[in-house]
């Protein structure tokens, strides 16, 4: 096999490809009209407020629910119809990282070993040792951060190509959050692992993620590499102006006015502004919040239809 690269069916397919994907629970759409493509070989963050459809999207991707509309393909396969072929290639840590609380750490690993043909036991044991967890201890007795680490170990030891993490750090304290994300980073460095993680906590994502997807109101808003996002967004402040003059050439994500000053968060894309504007760099959190706030304002008043039609990437 030396030098021979075996490309499996759909080996070059995107990690996740959604086409008009929608999921409705009763009368409420949890996810609607979602069309996106997430590349392999990158760490992609799925951000948005609670109820934005992040969990639904991930559960659809891993086959825990079926779409009401549209289609999702993971590594080129259908999560529901090709489950047999797909499941061994995908690692998933569900929200609140569920584990069998009555089992010991060792038994938890044994469960993983018994139902995953690709199980890497040395890796799993090494991880547990590195974390300093006693093998005989019941999982229910571990701290939240430790449980999250065990759940992550379980998902990584099956040696997946794609790792899906649903709000992995939401319930963790800042230190545990860092350690968890560090583990994810290490895993991506060691192997050709593609990671998609959802989060409503934006802090720390910048350090870990390559791509950003903003989900809000059950719809996709922005799909971009993070460095591009950071490079292209600017905060403009200047004397009070009609924002329409700016909006003609740029996307205005957020505008706020005081009596004398107007400040605009724009997708600048390298556009040069006249000197009456002061340019500031903005961090990821502010950009994300601007997108989320922008969408909400648009939905609430309908007045920003002008800009939202142009800004929102509904692909």
């Amino acid at each position: 096999m030396s030098g021979l690269e075996v490309v499996q069916g759909g080996g070059s397919a995107p990690a996740v490809a959604a086409d008009g994907l929608g999921k409705r629970y009763g009368a409420k759409w949890a996810l609607r009209n979602c069309t996106l493509e997430i590349p392999v070989g990158a760490v992609t963050a799925l951000v948005g407020p609670n109820g934005a459809g992040k969990t639904t999207l991930l559960q659809l991707a891993v086959g825990l629910t079926v779409p009401t509309a549209g289609e999702v393909r993971v590594l080129g396969l259908s999560p529901r119809h090709d489950a047999h072929a797909l499941l061994p290639r995908v690692g998933f840590v569900a929200q609140e990282h569920p584990l069998y609380r009555g089992l010991s750490v060792a038994e938890t690993l044994k469960v993983g070993k018994r139902i995953n043909p690709g199980w890497d036991n040395d890796f799993a044991l090494g991880r547990i040792e590195q974390l300093g967890l006693p093998l005989g201890l019941k999982v229910g007795k571990l701290s939240g951060g430790q449980q999250a680490q065990v759940a992550l170990t379980l998902a990584l030891a099956k040696r997946p190509e794609l790792l899906l993490l649903d709000e992995p750090v939401a319930s963790l304290d800042p230190l545990a959050r860092r350690e968890f994300l560090q583990t994810v980073l290490e895993a991506t460095a060691e192997t050709e692992l593609t990671v998609i993680l959802s989060s409503h906590i934006i802090a720390d994502l910048e350090r870990v993620c390559d791509h950003l997807i903003i989900l809000s109101q059950a719809e996709t808003q922005l799909v971009s590499p993070i460095d591009e996002v950071l490079a292209s967004h600017r905060l403009l402040t200047g004397p009070r102006t009609d924002p329409a003059t700016i909006a003609r050439v740029n996307r205005v994500i957020r505008e706020s006015h005081t009596e004398r000053q107007t400040s605009l968060l724009v997708r600048a894309d390298g556009h040069a502004y006249d000197s009456s504007w002061e340019l500031h760099e903005v961090d990821l959190e502010e950009i994300v919040l601007a997108y989320l706030g922008h969408r909400r304002a648009g939905a609430a008043t309908g007045a920003t239809q002008r800009s939202s039609d142009r800004d929102v990437v509904r692909s």
């Binding site: 086959g63 499941l87 998933f92 089992l103 044994k110």
Partner: protein, 262 residues
């Protein structure tokens, strides 16, 4: 997956086996004692005859000694329900605690997982219920020979009836648990539902079933021709007939007791 399924319901399986051991501990010694008493007093000779004084005394004596045990056994009709809901509990816990999201995203398909996860407790439920049925049927033999097996506590605890009730309780707990996703609540509701169903069947439904026919004859004269197309549900001191032409002859009214060979 078998080990996984076993490990995840070890506790419930052990509880089910403990129940069986408990039942055995009650039934085996008393059953042996009862069957000895039945033989010693030659009660089998009293059956099928018009009661005589000596027989009456023997039967009275036996009943006064062991009837309270028979009443005790009536409580065991709760066992299939208990077994069914206890063994359904691990599956319900999986739904309540969300661990199915862990299990269904490992490398095996959910179909295989569910088959193992439900197959094992079902097998345990049927095995334990089956063992209980065998022991209980053996235990009840003296009573059955005197009273027949058609009374509620007996009929519902024997053969496939008790197996059916076990499956019913198991299925009911699953349905409630899938809809409600609270394991303890679902198990409780399902058990109450089981008791209600039993009471409904015993007090209302059974009265509306066709009454079995009873026939007695002198064994020396051979079996009456009327029995040729009947299914014998029970024989011994009393013979109960059901099905076939006799039912239709008797209609739905009172069953005609044929006074053969007086």
């Amino acid at each position: 997956m078998t080990w996984v399924a076993w490990r995840l319901q070890r506790t419930e399986t052990l509880i089910a086996l403990a129940l069986l051991v408990l039942i055995g501990a009650v039934l085996l010694p008393t059953g042996i004692e009862m069957s000895h008493a039945f033989d010693r007093d030659h009660l089998s000779l009293c059956l099928g005859h018009r009661p005589s004084g000596a027989c009456n005394n023997a039967i009275e004596g036996f009943l006064s000694r062991f009837n309270s045990l028979g009443d005790l056994l009536a409580w065991f009709t709760l066992l299939p329900g208990l077994l069914g809901v206890i063994l359904a509990a691990p599956f319900l816990l999986e739904l309540e605690q969300g661990t199915y999201r862990l299990a269904w995203t490992q490398s095996i398909t959910r179909g295989r997982w569910i088959a193992a996860k439900l197959g094992l407790p079902l097998a345990v439920a049927l095995l334990v219920a089956g063992a209980y049925i065998l022991v209980g049927t053996w235990w009840r033999e003296p009573f059955v020979r005197m009273n027949g097996r058609m009374d509620t506590a007996t009929y519902d605890s024997e053969g496939i009836v008790a197996l059916g009730y076990t499956l019913f309780a198991f299925g009911l707990a699953l349905v409630v648990g899938v809809l409600w996703r609270k394991a303890v609540a679902a198990v409780t509701v399902a058990f109450v539902g089981y008791v209600v169903a039993r009471v409904f069947v015993d007090t209302w439904l059974r009265d509306r079933l066709v009454t079995p026919l009873k026939l007695s004859w002198n064994p020396a004269a051979g079996q009456p021709a009327a029995l040729d197309h009947a299914r014998i549900l029970s024989e011994g001191g009393k013979i109960l007939l059901g099905g076939g032409r006799l039912i239709r002859q008797g209609g739905r009214s009172r069953s005609p007791v044929t006074p053969a060979a007086r």
